[in-house]
Every structure is written in structure tokens, then in C-alpha cells.
Amino acid sequence: MKVTLFTTCIVDMFRSNVGKATVELLERLGCEIEFPESQVCCGQPAYNSGYVKESKEAMKRMIETFSNAEYVVSPSGSCAYMFHEYPHIFAGDPVWEPKAKALAERTYELTQFIVDILKIEDVGAKLEGTATYHTSCHMTRLLGVKEPPIILLKNVKGLKFTELPGKEQCCGFGGTFSVKMAQISEQMVDEKVRHVEETGAEYLIGADAACLMNIGGRMGRLEKPIKVMHIAEVLNSR
């Protein structure tokens, strides 16, 4: 199966290990990976700040970049969701709406792709330790992907899974919110860190690099000894 990777700019620049793990994992599951060089950012930061005009240029670029893909897979629920939002953003545009729709229909978040398309629930991963999982808001609520990451994690050998209290609560990232309303964001992420600590887990796992950057960044500052891992990295552990 041919998979076109949409890595997201955060992974490309700051979390290249997540991208590498995604490639290795999908290849191991029998996929052939393609990475179009012309991909940039999905436009979400500008779009969510109200700069719709500016963000549309980026979106058009992405639609064209992925126009020939069979399956577009992204290790980020939020960025994959953004592709699903494109048809609404271009609603009424005779040229771009159909193209946006076609892209949205072929776009999957990584764990969703593995469970729903590849029909694999156990990827044969192994990781010793206790872990908890942060359910990212965009991935669960807006993209509607709830079960797949949990199914996959529960099948990781050696991993003891504990549920995160208040898991439905946002970590306080919110894109530019984290800098625009930094004070509020700090209180939100602090509560999230307290909840992570309560679980006693060694690993905090998530499927969105942005949320992990936020929670991990706060835990780093507070010198909490909890290791942050993207789910691609966990599923790629042997």
C-alpha cells in the first residue's frame, strides 16, 4: 500500500524522530512511503488566529502537493483534522472545494490509518514500563479518533497502561493561545502535569507533537522525571 506522508512542520523541524519512527513503523507494516518535498505547513496557526486569507495560500499549496496521493497519513490528529476542515474553509469555491474534499477523504491520522485501513491492532511493539495517554482535543473531538490509539497501546508488550484523570481536558496548548494567553495556558498545563503525575506513569504518550511539546516543555521546566513519547515512537519500539 502506498502511503504519502504528511509529517507536519513541528515534526519536520523539532521532532524528526517522530517522523523517522512513523516511516519505519509503516514500512514494517507493509507500506511504501512517499514524502513530497513541497509540503509546508497546513496553515492552522494562521487560520486559528483569524488570518484566513494568509492561511489559504498555504492550504492551496498543501492540496496541490497531495493531489496524487492514495492515502495521506499524518502523525498528528490536529494537522490531519486541518485537512478535514479544508472543504469547509473552501466551501463555495468552485475550484478548490472539490479538491479539498478529495484530499480530506484520503487523509488519516496515523493510528486511525493502522487500525481502520490496515486493520492491524497489534503492531508487534514492545516497551517495558507504565504509561498514560493524553487524548488530544482535535484528534478526539474534531477528527473523532478515540479508540485506535488505545487499542494499539494496549497491545504493546510490556507496557502497563493507566488512564489519565481528567483526560478530556485540554492541555492548554491551543496554538497561539499558548503565547497570547500564556498565563492561563500555564495554569492549564500545570493541572495536566499534576494529573500525569497522579498516574505514577513513567511515560506520557500522545499522538500530537504539539500537545506533547507543551506538556513536555512544562514537565521539563519543573524537572519531572516523566518521559514523553509520541505514539509513533512507542509503536516503533521493539
Partner: protein
């Protein structure tokens, strides 16, 4: 009290909120408790919960699309039963009409049951100008009123930010109360004091949960029973309703009342749901002799027909407030409006303007928790985004530095070449701030981030470089 509360700027209000330990604890435990209760009687109990939401949504949308028809029908039917209907375009119109009724009736003692729209139009201020004693009879509102007109911080539980010790002090000072801070004892004191007020009132004022067009009725939803006493004992009754709070028949009223009570307080129905039609009938002993219905626009019609129309579907249940992670940290007063939380962040700028309230649409992470719970399916987080777009593109009210940054983003993100150069240079550009694999003291937009968090240093080898060299067979 008008819609606007307090005089501080947004930033200052948030500071106050974040520093109020009691309030934050109270809000957090209220949110957790309310969410459990709500889930028990919504998604858990009703397996087809989405169908309920869909039905509530279709009712609200239908009503808004045909609002002029239903308001006309309502007014005909109220008049048929001997009630008087006044359509008030502005809050001034509403106040002037109510003033004329007060003067005609020579009313001096007024009891009120909880109503957001009367707060919105500053009704109490006018009534006090007229020399009337106005008593709020909802326990929470009564506490706030006694405490020198403190502002509500939640639309269902207005005194959520106050603890029982603070309430005891207020009662001691204003009512000569001498007992303890036990909620039962405090509530009993309120019962005794307010019972007198109910019995001596010459005018009762209520809001309206849902008016029923077909019969000219309207419903009031309470747990305390105060709305019943307000409407049963005074000789004159005035009901003030926001113009969108209407349904076609009892059958739609039933659905929305069910959605309201389940989502607002996690109850299948509240203790009192009172459906009133007209003034008392000829031989009735209780109920008002005279009934006035004031239907208020006050900026609502400007919302109709536009991109924000769906906000008028709101039934004021506060489910969005009870799940909002931002409200959880900053509390209701931070919003500077009687309508806090996600619904407030959408509605307040529409009714009060961007000049006063341009920060509110940004007080959200767009996590979508509000949209997920809304029983009438208002796309709240999308409307917040819509506000941001208006502020940036139509109003030009965004900060210059942000505009420049976003322009640069627009260029960089749309152009692979620029993106490639920019992202490649990032590690070098950020090198002075980097120690090991993190940045602890950033500048520019990173400064706010690194006040509380580390930021990852950019990878020396980007993912795309790795992939390319791997394809070439280097790795």
C-alpha cells in the same frame, strides 16, 4: 447591572481570577461534579443522545428561521388571554415600558426571579431610580444582591465564586444573621426573609425560559420554587423575554425543557417547571390580575441572518461553561460580562461590540469541548474562530506585530522554498538561546512560551533531510 461587569481590563480581570484560590477550587470541583451529573442523565442514560441533540437543534433552527411568525402568534395569544405585549427594540425601550407600568401601578415593592435578560438591560438600576425596592429571590442572586450587588460568575449558579463563610458574613452584616455558615441555616434565613418579601410585593418580574406560541404560554424553570411565588402573589406581573426564547407548541417546549434541566443541573426535570398563560382567570384567587410580556431585541436581530445566527439557538444551560478548560482556570468574572465561558465569548462581543470585548474570542484553545456538549449543537468553537477572522480581517483590530508575523507565515508556509530555507536556518538562528536540546529563555513570541516551559531546540537534521538521504541510500 448591565451586560458588562466590572471596570478592569481583560488582563487585570484574568490576573484577579488566577489569584483567587477559593474561586478556582470551587469552579474546578463544580465543573467535575456537574460534568458527572450531566453525563449520567444525557449520554449514559439516553443511548440515542445524539438524536436528542439533533431534535433540539432542528427545533431551534426552525424557530429562528420563522421567528417573526412565532412572535406574532405568541403576541396574539397572550393578548387573547388578556395579557399586554410590548415589543422592545432596545433596552431603553424595554425599561421605559416597564417604568410606565411601575408608575401606573404605583408599585414600590418588587420581587424578581432569576433572569439574564433583565440583567442585560440593567432593569434593576431603572427600578431603583424609580424608588422601588427590588429583591432578587433566587438564592444565588439574592446573596449577590445583598453583597452590594456583586456580579454573577455563572449563568446557572451565579454565586459560585463565593464560599459559605463569605456568605455568612454578608448575611450577618446585612440581615443581622447570627447562626453558622451551614448552607441549610443560611438557606433557611433566606427563606424566612424572602417569604415576607413575596407576601408584601406589589409587582413580580420574571424572565422566560421558553414561550409557547400556540397558546401564548411561557415556562419558568427553577429548583427553589421562587418563580412560583413571584408569579402567584403580586397583583401585577411583568415577564421579560429575549425574543428568541420561543417554541411552536408544548411539545417542543417539553424537549427544550428536558435538554435544559439535564444539561444545566444534571436533573431529569428541576423541582419546579411552571407553565403560565395570561393573568389569573376570572374567579382565580392567586396569580396576577395584570400580566405584561416584554419581548426584547437589544441587538439580537443584528445576529439573525448572519454567520453567527446559530448562537441564538442557546437555551442558557451553561453546559459549555461547565466543561470549558479556560473558564475552569479564570472563572466567570474574567469575561467582564454576565455571559461568561464559551457562550459568553461568542455572544458578548456580538451584543457589546469588539471595542470592549475583542479579547474574549481568543480566550479559548479551540479544544471543542463546548461544541461537543452543547445540547442545541451551536458550533461554539467555530464561532470563536469566526470572531477572530472578523477582528483580523474586517475590523483590523489585531496587534501590528502579530499581523507582520502572520504575513511572514503566509509567505513562508505557502512557499516551499522559503519554508525550506527558513526551517534550515532555524537551528543556527536559535543557537544563541539553545542549551542542549532545549530553549529555556526565548525572545519574541517564544518569550511568553518559555516563561513557563522549555521549547525544543530545532533538530540539526530535519526530518526531510533524513528522508532524502535515506532515499539516496545513505542510511
Amino acid at each position: 447591572m448591565a451586560m458588562k461587569i466590572g471596570t478592569e481590563q481583560f488582563k487585570e480581570r484574568v490576573d484577579n481570577g488566577l489569584n483567587d484560590e477559593f474561586m478556582r477550587g470551587a469552579v474546578a470541583s463544580a465543573q467535575d461534579g456537574m460534568s458527572l451529573k450531566r453525563r449520567a442523565v444525557t449520554t449514559d442514560e439516553l443511548g440515542n443522545w445524539e438524536e436528542w441533540r439533533n431534535h433540539a437543534e432542528e427545533i431551534r433552527q426552525h424557530v429562528l428561521e420563522h421567528l417573526d411568525f412565532y412572535l406574532e402568534q405568541l403576541s396574539e395569544n397572550v393578548a387573547k388571554r388578556g395579557g399586554h405585549v410590548f415589543f422592545a427594540q432596545t433596552k431603553e425601550d424595554a425599561n421605559e415600558y416597564i417604568r410606565s407600568v411601575v408608575q401606573m401601578k404605583k408599585a414600590k415593592k418588587i420581587v424578581k426571579s432569576k433572569s439574564m435578560v433583565t440583567e442585560e438591560i440593567s432593569l434593576n438600576a431603572m427600578l431603583q431610580e424609580e424608588g422601588c425596592e427590588v429583591v432578587e429571590t433566587d438564592l444565588g442572586e439574592y446573596i449577590l444582591q445583598l453583597d452590594d450587588h456583586d456580579s454573577p460568575s455563572h449563568i446557572v449558579v451565579p454565586a459560585l465564586h463565593k464560599n459559605k463563610e463569605q456568605i455568612r458574613e454578608v448575611f450577618a452584616e446585612k440581615l443581622g444573621y447570627t447562626k453558622t455558615s451551614k448552607p441549610e441555616e443560611l438557606a433557611y434565613q433566606a427563606r424566612v426573609t424572602l417569604r415576607e418579601k413575596f407576601l408584601e410585593a406589589d409587582l413580580g418580574i420574571t424572565g422566560c425560559n421558553f414561550a409557547v406560541a400556540e397558546t401564548g404560554s411561557f415556562s419558568l424553570v427553577t429548583n427553589e420554587g421562587n418563580a412560583d411565588l413571584v408569579t402567584a402573589l403580586a397583583k401585577t406581573q411583568i415577564t421579560v423575554m429575549g425574543m428568541e426564547r420561543i417554541v411552536p407548541t408544548f411539545e417542543e417546549m417539553e424537549i427544550l425543557v428536558s435538554m435544559l434541566t439535564r444539561n444545566a443541573v444534571g436533573q431529569k426535570l428541576t423541582s419546579y417547571i411552571t407553565v403560565l398563560t395570561g393573568p389569573r382567570e376570572d374567579l382565580d384567587v392567586d396569580g396576577p390580575e395584570e400580566f405584561h410580556l416584554v419581548i426584547v431585541d437589544n441587538g439580537r436581530s443584528d445576529i439573525l441572518g448572519g454567520e453567527f445566527q446559530s448562537v441564538l439557538q442557546c437555551i442558557r444551560c451553561a453546559a459549555c461553561i461547565n466543561v470549558c478548560p479556560v473558564y475552569r482556570q479564570i472563572g466567570g468574572h474574567s469575561y467582564g460580562s454576565i455571559y461568561p465561558g464559551p457562550i459568553g465569548a461568542v455572544l458578548t462581543p456580538l451584543l457589546g461590540g469588539y471595542d470592549e470585548y475583542k479579547e474574549l474570542p481568543y480566550a479559548s484553545t479551540l479544544c471543542g469541548a463546548c461544541t461537543e456538549v452543547c445540547p442545541v449543537k451551536i458550533p461554539l468553537h467555530n464561532l470563536l474562530l469566526k470572531h477572530r477572522e472578523m477582528i483580523v480581517e474586517k475590523e483590523g483590530k489585531a496587534p501590528v506585530s502579530e499581523k507582520l508575523l502572520m504575513k511572514a507565515f503566509g509567505l513562508g508556509a505557502a512557499s516551499p522554498t522559503l519554508y525550506k530555507i527558513g526551517s534550515k536556518l532555524a537551528p543556527t538562528a536559535l543557537n544563541p538561546f539553545t542549551s542542549g536540546d532545549k530553549i529555556s529563555k526565548g525572545v519574541g513570541p517564544l518569550k511568553a512560551w518559555t516563561e513557563a516551559r522549555d521549547f525544543p531546540a530545532p533538530n540539526k537534521e530535519r526530518f526531510r533531510d533524513w528522508f532524502k538521504s535515506r532515499e539516496k541510500g545513505d542510511k
